[in-house]
């Protein structure tokens, strides 16, 4: 059986998990904005501000994804990395407010928790990664979600995230990384044959 056929089969078998991921990724509107709706902006400025909104949202998603990856490393963190994340978080909150953007409740709560000094106050890695993906389903956010799911032993949804990532046009290096993760999680599910087939591809 070819690797493509294996991926097709897995897509069918993991359809419920893929649907749940698509629903999570479609959960936009987590940031309320008056950035786009103030008076009658000249069209050029309105276009530029629409791009700024995307950049703000992307950065918040990136902060949450980074926090999720850090959270996966355990209860204590290197001081320097923790402080850098805290600063990034405070900056994101400050600049959102300056530009009249209000994060949705879940995102605001997560940013508040990440801005405090105690690591114990953080949401779980899975919560952080889910918020990151819902804000913007970037490679970074998807990777954080897949790893958080895998760390919780949720191999099927983790495999679904890998499959979704593999369905996008990718460079060979990125495909290899996702394939390696998928193989590992298939093995955890006891699916050694298909894991071996994909590994050999």
């Amino acid at each position: 059986m070819s690797a493509c056929r294996v991926l097709d089969e897995l897509s069918r078998e993991l359809a419920p998990e893929l649907r749940a991921l698509a629903e999570l990724e479609a959960r936009r509107g987590l940031v309320r904005s008056d950035l786009l709706g103030v008076g009658c902006l000249p069209p050029r400025l309105a276009q530029a501000q629409a791009e700024l909104l995307v950049v703000h949202v992307s950065e918040v998603s990136a902060v949450l994804a980074s926090a999720a990856r850090l959270a996966l490393r355990g209860p204590s963190l290197p001081e320097e990395e923790h402080e850098a994340l805290r600063e990034r978080c405070l900056e994101a909150r400050h600049l959102l407010a300056l530009d009249g953007l209000t994060p949705g409740e879940g995102v605001a709560r997560a940013l508040d928790a990440l801005a405090v000094e105690r690591r114990a106050a953080w949401p779980t890695a899975l919560e952080l990664a889910s918020l990151a993906v819902a804000l913007r389903p970037s490679s970074r956010a998807r990777a954080a979600l897949a790893l958080a799911l895998a760390a919780s032993g949720d191999w099927r949804p983790a495999s679904a995230v890998a499959l979704a990532a593999l369905s996008r046009p990718r460079s060979a290096a990125v495909r290899r990384r996702w394939l390696a993760r998928l193989c590992l999680w298939l093995e955890r599910l006891g699916d050694h044959d298909r894991a071996a087939l994909l590994r050999a591809a």
């Binding site: 276009q47 530009d99 996008r168 046009p169 460079s171 290096a173």
Partner: protein
């Protein structure tokens, strides 16, 4: 990558000139560039940046698109870059040099935009209107052309650059290979892989 204004300051562009020894015009221009980025909200900085393009971001974006051989709408890439510069301006403290910092912002904006278009294409969302005219000239559906661009942008850098040199610019393979630091056969193979990815994406719509 494009640097500051080419008018009347060509001798200032020498890469051997250290920042501390730069000519007075360039120092003044850097100071005014930094003033543009300071003391305002991202939204206000953005308005300054798109009014007359004082940091010459459009030229930097054009240069970034060419050097990375990315197939993106240049105007959207310019606006996204301006938004990036505006959002991250508070982090800029004078290091690295402004040119290097701006170029890094261009790269980040282009990567982000390419990834976003990949996601939109995966969800079958509408093709950028900027492609409509080009698609018409090529007798292709705009959505098909958008899929091909996304596929090309997902290729390795060497593949994209080889495709651009050999297919778009119709360069001699030996010349292109030299410029890419590769061999003619690897350059040809890389361009072919990119072409196959683009053709597969063009064919997707009709296969569905």
């Amino acid at each position: 990558m494009a640097s500051t204004s080419k008018t009347a300051e060509s001798e200032c562009d020498s890469p051997t000139v250290e920042a501390s020894q730069a000519c007075p015009e360039k120092r003044a221009s850097r100071a005014s560039a930094r003033a543009l980025l300071a003391g305002a909200t991202p939204r206000e900085v953005l308005a300054r940046l798109i009014a007359g393009d004082p940091l010459e971001l459009r030229a930097r974006v054009a240069s970034g698109l060419a050097s990375e051989a990315l197939f993106l709408d240049p105007d959207r890439a310019f606006l996204r870059t301006a938004a990036h510069v505006a959002r991250f301006a508070p982090r800029y403290r004078g290091q690295p040099e402004l040119d290097a910092w701006l170029d890094a912002r261009v790269q980040a904006a282009l990567r982000e935009l390419a990834e976003e278009e990949r996601e939109q294409s995966a969800h079958g969302r509408a093709a950028p209107t900027a492609l409509a005219e080009l698609a018409g000239k090529l007798k292709l559906e705009p959505a098909a052309l958008a899929r091909a661009c996304v596929a090309l942008n997902g290729c390795e850098r060497l593949e994209r650059r080889a495709f651009r040199a050999l297919v778009i610019e119709a360069r001699e393979i030996d010349v292109a290979a030299r410029e890419l630091g590769s061999t003619p056969s690897e350059t040809g193979r890389a361009a072919r892989r990119a072409l196959e990815a683009a053709l597969a994406a063009l064919g997707q719509g009709s296969a569905e």
